[in-house]
């Protein structure tokens, strides 16, 4: 962290990219994104392969659809893998996880900031809802409709997965990848645009759904389009909040945890 502390004990807010000087550089960012993409694909294809081999399903397509019902649970594996890579990068750079979260942030700043993040996410919610109804009408969005897990897995997806996701996903993209891209490109707006696009593209990979015997590319495109406004808003807010990640993580936790809870309680029809 490069924030200085003037008299009065308040951190002066002139934060610099937290990982700009990281020795692992852009290679670390590529490794991190590659790990996430590889894990999403690997876990889903691996589980589908197991189902086919065990004779539970007849075709790979059926197996993928069945596996998709568990995506909110095995997402934890992707986030654990992400945290592993982050820990490895931090070890090589001699840095600490806390430094990735930006300047010191008090509890009231996190609370107030998270409120601001949630309020600023309203336009993204509206856009996403309109896109869903334009494509799927009154039906529930497929990534929520496919979720079908037993109660114990539901509890895990409400209590553990959203927390792991916040410790891994925004920290990976905004705390690790973005500063390294900024340092390489020298243009924050270009780095932010690339991060938002790559981050959104990752969402096309989960869950993998099949339609007419082929991967449902329309759904994949819908996934990217529906998350793009959220990710653009959160990335812009990361700058607006002086590169503080905690308010964004807290707001996302409320948002994603709330969605998982609504699904577990059967409130999403």
């Amino acid at each position: 962290m490069t924030a200085t502390t003037p008299a009065g004990g308040q951190p002066a807010v002139r934060p610099q990219p937290s990982g700009a000087a990281a020795a692992t550089g852009l290679g670390g960012a590529v490794l991190l994104v590659g790990t996430r993409i590889g894990l999403w694909l690997g876990v889903q294809l691996g589980l589908a392969g197991l189902l086919v081999l065990a004779g539970v399903t007849a075709t790979g397509g059926q197996a993928l659809d069945r596996v998709a019902g568990w995506w909110m649970v095995y997402g934890a594996l992707v986030d654990l893998g992400t945290l592993g890579v982050i820990a490895w990068l931090l070890g090589r750079d001699g840095s600490a996880y806390r430094r990735l979260l930006g300047p010191p942030t008090t509890a009231w700043q996190v609370t107030l900031g998270a409120g601001g993040v949630l309020a600023a996410s309203v336009p993204a919610v509206v856009f996403s809802a309109e896109l869903t109804s334009a494509i799927y009408g009154d039906a529930t969005a497929p990534m929520l409709a496919v979720v079908d897990v037993p109660p114990l897995a539901s509890i895990f997806s409400v209590l553990v997965v959203p927390l792991l996701a916040e410790l891994a996903e925004p920290v990976a993209y905004l705390g690790v990848v973005l500063p390294r891209l900024e340092a390489r490109l020298g243009r924050p707006w270009l780095a932010a645009t690339i991060v938002v696009l790559v981050w959104a593209a990752e969402h096309a990979l989960f869950p993998l759904l099949v339609s007419g015997g082929r991967l449902d590319l329309e759904f994949a495109a819908y996934r990217v389009g529906s998350v793009l406004p959220y990710l653009a808003t959160w990335t812009a807010l990361y700058y607006a909040l002086g590169r503080r990640l905690l308010p964004i993580m807290a707001a996302r936790w409320v948002f994603n945890g709330g969605t998982a809870l609504a699904l577990a309680l059967g409130l999403v029809e």
Binding site: A7, G8, V122, P123, T233, A236, L241
Partner: protein, 151 residues
Amino acid sequence: MHRAILYRLTYLAAAMSLGHHLDHLIRHNAVGWPLTDQVNAFTMSLVVYPVIATGLLAYRAGRVGPGFWALVSGGGAVFVSAVHFGPAAVEPPELILGHYQPPILGWLAFGWLVSFVAVLAITSVYETRQWAEQRQTRRAARPATGAETAR
């Protein structure tokens, strides 16, 4: 640096507001005075331009700070959200999406509106942070000044 960012965000929000009013003109629905005799939300929303112009002059003169802009952009975000997205929206998204041919133009106009509200909200968060930091700096400087005066 912060002043330059604040100016840029204000100009961006003003340009996006202008673009959204242009969208109203093209669709010619949900418009009011001076285009029709009716005074409605469209008419009220035009107040934003004199507010921005006055605010820019007052900001340059040091009469107002980031707190003023946080209220203007935050108020704007709430107003536009209530008119377009709220439960009692007078101009819901369908009025934009359903009035363009080809439909992609409707999505462009709607995407513009969503971006406009997001810019207002993000600007408000940024300016609120600036405002809070300005107050903290002033508070930190006050005891130091007092100590020197006492000496």
